[in-house]
């Protein structure tokens, strides 16, 4: 189970980082989603994965079963999920707003922070130029 999750986490990290390096903003957003899930699964794996050993203390027992899973990482993930949910919601809004304002989702056309800002959208579809 550990190996399987390690592989899943690895693929998610690789895919997330790859998508984050794409030019399209929507793909970057997908990358962010993949990456936050990769992180959450990493923490999940850290909490030890064992079947049928709940971290509960029985009526007669004084401590949990030896080798049972640690419940704390799952609480941490819950917090992390809520945070990444908020972040994603903001990112979606920001990207949508940017698209409305600039008319493109191409990261390479976001030059306004470095060059004087034109009043009108200065982006043209490369396909349009070919005609």
């Amino acid at each position: 189970m550990n190996v399987l999750l390690a592989l899943v986490v690895g693929v998610l990290f690789a895919g997330g980082l790859y998508m984050m390096m794409r030019r399209s903003l929507v793909k970057v957003l997908v990358g962010m989603l993949l990456l936050s899930n990769a992180v959450n699964l990493t923490i999940f794996t850290v909490g030890r994965l064992v079947p049928a050993r709940p971290p509960l203390i029985g009526l007669e027992a004084r401590q949990v079963l030896p080798g049972s899973a640690d419940p704390l990482p799952q609480a941490l993930i819950l917090t992390a999920i809520v945070i990444s949910f908020g972040m994603t919601a903001f990112a979606v809004t920001l990207i949508r707003k940017t698209y409305q304002k600039i008319g493109t989702d191409d990261l390479d056309s976001l030059r306004c922070t470095d060059l004087p800002c034109p009043d009108e959208p200065d982006w043209r579809d490369p396909g349009e130029e070919a005609h």
Partner: protein, 494 residues
């Protein structure tokens, strides 16, 4: 209970701004009171820490290391006071400088949320909690940056959000792995347990992950690119707030973690930190030299000054840390004041382009003086605060035998002076360009008073350097005395 007040007051401020959502003017004046109260509470906490050592609070009375711990040592209390001061000054400046549309859009609520996140990061004693406070601060800063929705702002926000998201993901991964390795999240408990971990390679790797995560937040070389791409886009009030607090939280987290938790790998990490510090200083100041937009120029100087803070940490001696702490207070005041002056110049002449500014020295000599004091302090000339800050760092560098980074830091000081004299020459001395006549309107006291307060603070830090250097030394000694921190947090548990 005093330890929780720097958190509760901004929270109250947030709630009040929400309650007064439809009354922007009332929000402006409420923020003055909440930030003043926040500063008073932080100063009181500083006094208490001076008298009684590390202050702790076990939230909900769950004993450490199982519950959430708030722990403020002298360094933390100094940072809380600085954040209180910046908060108050920004609130005063914003009364006039923040436009009504943005106030209606929730500026004050976000401003308090940012202060809450920053203060939380300064007062927590738990690494996952630190992550959560970082996120509180980041979310507020995301929205503050984009608030207003101008094109440059949106583009800057995208770059800022994506790169800071990367940093947060790294921070969270490292925290998860650290928990897997040690089974604890409490900083003091981590400090005890980490030396017993067998897999040293993994510990070093985790230290590097934290270094990169905090390096992105602190904007060190080569991870700073989000800063000059975004900091100049929002209104100058927001930039002043960010420049005073955000990157400094990254440096604070670095200092906290590398003096308390990751001490076993010191030799390797410290060399790396010194190299990074030198490069950060050089690249920042060279970037600034090429700029003609005042806000962009000052943004590059933020990066350059971060290098000095990292240098103090990399020297890893009491002198170096004391220098970093003194420098931190100095640079926060100087940079925030400079951004305020940039805002005033924008008010007077309607722009930040140095080529179109000019003649301010003749028309408004007082504004010029308000610029000159923090600018000279930033360059490190006596008798201003920056001189003593750099003196402490250079002295610690010589004591540690790190001549390379000392030489770089002195050369960068000269370049900073060059950059500041360029601004002086262009914006203040040069006659006003023909196409931008100086409209003779008064500069409101709401605008110059906070800049004056910070400039005077910088001057006072230079003139009263003795006691403040002693205070920094005391704070640095407390940082290095890990046993005292650990006992204060874990106390009776073991």
């Amino acid at each position: 209970m005093l330890i929780a007040t720097p958190l509760l007051i901004p929270l109250l401020g947030m709630l009040l701004s929400l309650a007064l959502w439809r009354r922007p003017t009332a929000q402006r004046y409420t923020a003055l009171f909440t930030t003043a109260a926040g500063l008073a509470a932080s100063l009181a906490l500083l006094g208490q820490t001076l008298r009684g050592g590390v202050q702790t609070l076990q939230v909900g009375n769950w004993p450490a290391p199982f519950g959430i711990t708030l722990a403020v040592d002298l360094f933390g209390a100094i940072m809380l006071s600085v954040s209180g001061l910046v908060g108050l000054c920004v609130a005063v400046f914003a009364v006039q400088a923040m436009d009504r549309a943005r106030v209606s859009g929730g500026f004050y609520m976000l401003f308090h949320a940012l202060l809450l996140g920053v203060n939380g990061a300064f007062s927590t004693g738990d690494i996952f909690n630190l992550y959560v406070w970082f996120e509180v601060m980041l979310m507020a800063s995301f929205v503050l940056l984009a608030l207003g929705g101008e094109r440059a702002q949106l583009e800057g926000s995208i770059k800022y959000v994506i790169l800071n998201f990367m940093a947060s993901a790294l921070f969270l991964t490292a925290t998860g792995l650290l928990y897997g390795l040690t089974g604890t999240l409490n900083l003091a408990d981590l400090a005890l347990r980490l030396p017993q971990v067998e897999a040293r390679g993994l510990v070093t790797a985790l230290a590097m992950m934290y270094l990169i995560a905090f390096g992105i937040k602190a904007a060190v070389f080569p991870l700073f690119f989000w800063l000059p791409a975004s900091y100049h886009t929002p209104p100058v009030v927001v930039t002043a707030l960010f420049s005073g607090l955000l990157t400094k939280v990254g440096v604070y987290a670095m200092i906290r973690l590398f003096t308390l938790v990751f001490t076993g790998e010191a030799a390797f990490i410290n060399t790396l930190l010194l190299v990074v510090a030198g490069l950060t200083m050089v690249v920042g100041v060279l970037g600034a030299a090429a700029q003609w937009d005042l806000r962009r120029l000052l943004s590059f100087h933020i990066i350059s000054q971060i290098g000095y803070l990292v240098m103090g940490l990399g020297l890893a001696s009491q002198g170096g840390l004391a220098g970093a702490i003194y420098f931190m207070v100095h640079v926060v005041m100087a940079k925030t004041a400079l951004f305020f002056v940039a805002g005033i110049l924008d008010r007077i002449q309607g722009g930040f382009d140095l080529k179109q500014l000019g003649g301010v020295f003749k028309a408004r000599p007082w504004i010029a003086a308000l610029f000159a004091v923090p600018a000279l302090a930033l360059a490190g000339l006596p008798p201003f605060s920056g001189f003593f800050a750099k003196l402490m760092l250079v002295k610690a560098g010589f004591e540690g035998g790190q001549f390379g980074v000392v030489a770089v830091s002195l050369a960068v000081s000269l370049l900073t002076l060059y950059s500041m004299s360029k601004v002086w020459q262009e914006a203040f001395w040069k006659p006003a360009p023909a196409d931008s006549p100086l409209p003779l309107q008064r500069v409101s006291a709401w605008l110059w008073a906070p800049a004056l307060l910070l400039a005077a603070g910088g001057l006072a830090m230079g003139l009263l350097a003795g006691p403040l250097v002693d205070l920094s030394n005391l704070a640095a000694a407390q940082l290095l005395d890990r046993a005292a921190y650990i006992t204060a947090v874990l106390g009776g548990v073991r």
